[in-house]
Point group: C2
Chain length 253, copies 2
């Protein structure tokens, strides 16, 4: 990967974690929803990802896309995720194809499969002595409208991969809410993705060879209920962290 | 099923086939996109399925929904399917939940899995001596934007089923373009759905007991590459037709 990499959602938590920690490894192009407070060290653009005219200048000459932009709220209303997430993802793919981009890394979410967390299974499934494990071979079961939009983004990627042969990696990102595992939140400990593992899995998704993948993006937590075997095998993902082993220090993004 | 059944897309080919052939079996409420040429024998409504205010009067007192409305064009542009199909399906589900509807039969499509028909597999897969068979356990692979919208409708149904316990049957409808199997079109012969089998599978979807299902809706064609075993088992679907046995007479809708 020598050419520029466009990262959308550059002002978000995952976005900042990825491009700042991988600042030396890629020639980033950053897309923000609105003007950033601080001018970043890479060329940047602002606009709506659902607007082709806003996306085109950011995509110029780009070799790969890391598409993270969208309404990130778990309780986002339908029309926001329909526009920002579903239509936005479709637009970014269309412009990527126009520009001949080779590779598309898409931020899917644990919420695409959130409805597996039924009252009968929880909180047991969040515990290390429980065997329940999703491995990505199951159909999505969105737990909210946001999750519908994320699973739809995977479908949109499936179409663009099949039709235009662009490599697509969907990362169902766990919980990067904090720089350390949440202390009193079992679900969050189960799906914690540490900042360095977050940067690493995106790095691997920009480097590995694959066609169309769906991988869970969490650290190697004792409590996990997502398998990370597929990410290990196909992406070469090698997570360093485990929420059970947190030593009390923070990994600042 | 004693209460009224709302059928959307009442003016479309599948819609007319279903409600006209099952006119004696259900107390239909019909929703049209625009004023029908001929006044139907059942209460009817007109409007946009993506508009809650248009859908609400049609949903009043309804026990089950057969949702067929949407842009049916294989080459429909993205913004049309985003609005009419994806947003429309979401609206009809939302209003159905508001009204306490028990059951939702959704017209999905063969186009939700159209990208399985690769240049390497075709036309062999359309022939009776070929073993390739999709059974509904595979992830969708949409072959066009219309197919993306139909697969997204299945996802939307998964969410509403998991969240509100409404029974959902997604029928991936084959080819009802003609009253007889297409004569010189192998793909169409493979996925032909005869008018009487079309009415019958919708009847079964309104009668059988299930939670959330994805079933292929085609006749028992020698050339089929969709398994109809799931439809037989869960819905009690018992198709009468086979494109290979067509005797030259038409089944008028």
């Amino acid at each position: 990967m020598d050419g520029p990499v466009l990262l959308t959602g550059a002002g978000g938590h995952v976005g900042r974690t990825v491009w700042q920690r991988l600042a030396d490894r890629y020639d980033w192009r950053l897309m923000y929803h609105s003007q950033p407070d601080e001018k970043p060290e890479f060329p940047y653009f602002t606009g709506e990802v659902q607007d082709h005219e806003d996306v085109r200048p950011a995509m110029e000459g780009v070799e790969a896309v890391v598409h993270l932009a969208g309404d990130p709220r778990r309780d986002a209303p339908w029309h926001s995720v329909l526009t920002n997430n579903i239509d936005g993802t479709h637009t970014v793919y269309e412009v990527a194809i126009e520009e001949g981009v080779d590779r598309f890394v898409y931020a899917s979410s644990n919420h695409a499969v959130g409805a597996f967390e039924t009252p009968e299974r929880t909180p047991d499934m969040y515990r290390s002595d429980d065997d329940f494990l999703l491995d990505g071979s199951e159909f999505p079961r969105p737990g909210n409208k946001y999750g519908i939009s994320k699973a739809t983004g995977e479908l949109i990627g499936r179409y663009f991969h099949d039709e235009y042969d662009i490599s697509v990696c969907n990362i169902r990102i766990g919980n990067l809410n904090e720089e350390h595992p949440p202390v009193d939140y079992e679900r969050g400990q189960a799906m914690w993705l540490s900042p360095r593992d977050c940067a690493h899995i995106h790095d691997r998704a920009l480097q590995a060879d694959y066609e169309f993948e769906i991988a869970y993006g969490i650290s190697d937590n004792d409590r996990k209920y997502y398998s990370i075997e597929r990410a290990r095998e196909v992406l070469g993902y090698d997570p360093q962290d485990n929420s059970a082993e947190w030593d009390g220090t923070e990994q600042t993004a």
